[in-house]
């Protein structure tokens, strides 16, 4: 337990609103979307057409699953690329060369 605490304290701290911060948040969003996708939540977006994802699931539950998927999809497709682009722009502004 104490080892874990020690490792965590040694982990480099990512500065809020830094290039690395944006890049990490972007990757996290993409990762969360991947989990939702692999969990099969895509099927439940059918609630948008007023249809349940499967006969054993209520339309309300389909709506919840589908909404989670849509939010994470938009996070991955719209927000994550913006965060990663912003990270790249910050690095450019900060004059950090790629790979440094």
């Amino acid at each position: 337990m104490s080892d874990m605490k020690e490792k965590a304290s040694k982990r480099p701290r990512i500065e809020f609103f830094s290039a690395k911060y944006f890049f990490t948040r972007g990757l996290e969003l993409a990762g969360l979307f991947l989990i939702a996708h692999l969990a099969g939540l895509r099927e439940y977006t059918t609630f948008l057409s007023g249809t349940t994802g499967d006969l054993g699931t209520s339309i309300e539950r389909s709506g919840i699953y589908g909404t989670i998927y849509i939010v994470l999809y938009l996070g991955c497709v719209v927000v994550a690329p913006i965060l990663i682009l912003a990270s790249g722009l910050l690095r450019l502004w900060e004059g950090v060369r790629p790979g440094r």
């Binding site: 500065e15 809020f16 609103f17 830094s18 911060y21 944006f22 895509r42 099927e43 439940y44 977006t45 059918t46 948008l48 057409s49 007023g50 249809t51 349940t52 994802g53 499967d54 006969l55 339309i59 998927y69 999809y73 497709v77 719209v78 690329p81 913006i82 965060l83 990663i84 682009l85 912003a86 990270s87 790249g88 722009l89 910050l90 502004w93």
Partner: protein, 402 residues
């Protein structure tokens, strides 16, 4: 220590400022570019001749449904939980699509005919055995139909169009009296109302179904040499006078038997209405399409959609509109129907932008050459398939016009 804090504070504000500026710049780059990842040439969705890749993939999925009974039961069952009408409309859109596909791809005609007959026969059997209410929403039983005996033009018009579409692809004599019977019944029901319109639900006439009835009449005229031109002309004159919204000039979507408007113009109705009207009065159809385009179509950052209502009128969200997304007023139901309008009127720019939106937000799922849109359902996908293939049937009928 105090000195350190004084040094850090401006750093944080500076970082926030730089961060927000970077986010704003990144958004300004990414958001207008996003559509490039989803925009495809219009030929990917719809082609003048033959079948587009998407039409083939969508059709493969639907043909699978009608050859695997368990899958079909599951898909139709999911829709019937919300709306029994969708079960019916999924069938009609698919039969109309297969007729168009048979004309586009004669090599596969016999395969398509087999499925078309299967759908038509099963639909007629269900209507015969379980009655018209089987395919209607429960409120159909809430009151008596004004015109007796009770009939729903929703079923009659679309069944007539299914029969006619099948016969247009290849004659089937068995269906000839069935078509005549349906068309005669529709004309009789419509003539009994003061505005030449028949009910789909008790004292509720739908523009969608009344214009579908006109299209079915024109199809029968083409097939069997009947002549409904006088009735159709009278109907168009009446509709222009009594069934248009005074602000937009668009046809209203539902009204009473006496012609009193129930719902104003709606995107989930008008795009299809304009398509049906092409067989009744091409000029009026063009006029309605252009009005719908002005009032309902919206485009932003390369993506397009349809509103359910014009700015001047707002109705309630219902099963036809789907859940309307606020601010942008995006209606999934209206946007699906807009594909049919854009396809019918050769509006490739709008169709391309609609297709980009569909691929962005419709959550396509491809397996073994079969395509479905997860955000849609069987009837939605069948309507998209129809938009991707419609054309040859209407062209044949229009060319034969005197």
């Amino acid at each position: 220590m105090k000195g350190e804090q004084e040094v850090k504070k401006p750093n944080l504000w500076g970082r926030l400022l730089r961060g927000f500026a970077a986010l704003a710049a990144a958004a300004a780059i990414w958001i207008p570019s996003l559509h490039f990842f989803f925009t495809r040439p219009v030929g990917e969705f719809r082609r003048a001749g033959g079948l587009s890749p998407k039409a083939e993939q969508l059709a493969a999925r639907h043909l699978q449904l009608w050859t695997e009974p368990e899958l079909k039961e599951r898909e139709l069952g999911r829709m019937r939980v919300s709306n029994a009408e969708w079960d019916f409309m999924g069938r009609t859109f698919l039969v109309w699509s297969l007729a168009e596909m048979g004309l586009r791809n004669p090599a596969a005609k016999q395969d398509y005919l087999k499925v078309m007959d299967q759908i038509i026969d099963e639909t007629l059997r269900l209507e015969r055995e379980r009655g018209m209410y089987f395919f209607l929403m429960p409120y159909a039983k809430a009151g008596p139909y004004v015109v007796q005996p009770a009939r729903s033009l929703f079923l009659d018009s679309e069944i007539a169009m299914m029969l006619a579409s099948r016969r247009l692809l290849e004659e089937k004599l068995e269906y000839r009296p069935l078509l005549k019977e349906r068309v005669d019944l529709m004309v009789a029901q419509m003539q009994r109302g003061p505005v030449l319109a028949a009910e789909s639900y008790p004292d509720e006439c739908w523009m969608f179904d009344n214009t579908a009835a006109l299209a079915a009449m024109r199809m029968e005229d083409f097939l069997d040499g009947t002549d409904h031109s006088v009735f159709i002309h009278q109907w168009v004159v009446m509709a222009k006078r009594k069934l248009t919204d005074p602000t937009t000039g668009m046809l209203v979507s539902s009204f009473t038997v006496d012609g009193e408007s129930l719902e104003g113009p709606e995107g989930s109705s008008i795009w299809m209405v304009a398509h049906f009207l092409r067989l009744a009065d091409e000029t009026f159809a063009q006029d309605q399409y252009q009005r719908a385009k002005t009032q309902l179509s919206r485009e932003m950052a390369g993506f397009a959609w349809s509103r359910e209502w014009p700015q001047s009128w707002r109705g309630g969200v219902n099963v036809d509109s789907g859940p309307v997304i606020p601010v942008f007023d995006i209606s999934p139901g209206a946007s699906g129907m807009a594909f049919i309008g854009a396809g019918s009127f050769g509006d490739d720019d709008y169709l391309t932008a609609l297709a980009a939106t569909l691929d962005f937000s419709g959550f396509p799922s491809r397996r073994a050459g079969r395509l479905k849109y997860c955000a849609s359902n069987q009837v939605g996908d069948a309507a998209l398939l129809y938009a991707a293939v419609l054309g040859p049937l209407w062209d044949r009928i229009e060319k034969a016009k005197p």
